[in-house]
Amino acid sequence: MADESQTNATNPTPPATAGSFDVFVGPHLPVLLRVAGSLCRNPHDAEDLVQDTLIRAFKGLDGFDGASPRAWLLTIMRNANMNRHRRRRPGLLHDTVDLAGEVDRRNPPAPSAEDVAATRAPAPWIEDALDRLSPRHLHVVQLVDIDGLTYDEAAAALGIPAGTVMSRLHRARHRMRTQLAHHPDFRSEPR
């Protein structure tokens, strides 16, 4: 219980310099690729998006104040993703949530055989509950509860306030809990 009251810890990040750029971004690459996988329709686009993000981050390194590197990288990724959408669909620039991309949980990056062997299949009831969420709610659940971002990092990735992330996330979980209340695999055991 005690650890639940602690703020999510992140690994210490080395200082951002051009010569140590790879050391600086290295710890964040898995998260960036995972979030890109949530924002893009296929794994190739996700990898391209992270590549764009790295190049933009390298170019903007001088202007980075050193605080919250993962949120900084996620903000760059969001802007890179917006530019990609703008190039492909110039008429659709009004809804920032749409610009954040489409959640495509059914088409994740292809795993290796080792990865598959190390991962359990998700329960069907949780997949059903996710499928019933609106896109806005699914976005925040995907980024926070599945990809492991903090509220602030999810806010940076989506371009919305952290308070909005929190309210959408709480509402989404509340709906899922209500929907699953009578499911035999989810129901609370009597205490």
């Binding site: 219980m1 005690a2 639940e4 009251s5 602690q6 703020t7 999510n8 051009a18 010569g19 750029f21 790879d22 050391v23 971004v25 290295g26 690459l29 898995p30 960036l32 690729l33 995972r34 996988g37 794994p43 996700a46 990898e47 992270v50 590549q51 790295l54 190049i55 390298f58 949980r105 994740p108 990056p109 292809a110 795993p111 290796s112 080792e114 990865d115 598959v116 190390a118 991962t119 359990r120 998700p122 329960a123 009831w125 949780i126 997949e127 996710l130 659940v141 509860d145 599945i146 990809d147 509220y151 929190m166 996330l169 709480h170 979980r173 899922m176 809990r177 989810f186 609370s188 205490r191």
Partner: protein, 94 residues
């Protein structure tokens, strides 16, 4: 909700009322509360069966969601790390 349950929600258990804790359970489970408030919520969750069960539900939900995380292939990560190294070495035409 039955009238008895409504009244029960305003009773103080473990130093806090259900109506106060109910709004904070998810933030508590996400680690977003200050230490004093987190301790108060924790005491209430141990003292109140209804709120304790709600917290159990949200814990179970969060755990199940974390398990849906798709496995990630190592190969794209290696390529991205190589790109970062190239940028650091000044080998990439940007």
């Amino acid at each position: 909700m039955r009238p008895h349950d409504m009244i029960d929600m305003f009773r103080r258990k473990g130093g806090a009322r259900c109506v106060e804790v109910g709004r904070k359970i998810q933030t508590y489970l996400d680690g977003g509360l200050d230490p004093d408030t987190a301790a108060k919520v924790s005491r209430h969750l141990h003292a109140c069966r209804r709120c304790g069960l709600a917290a159990d539900d949200f814990r179970r939900l969060k755990s199940a969601l974390a398990e849906t995380s798709a496995p990630m292939s190592a190969e794209p990560l290696r390529r991205l790390q190589a790109l970062a190294a190239d940028l650091a070495a000044g080998d990439n035409a940007t």
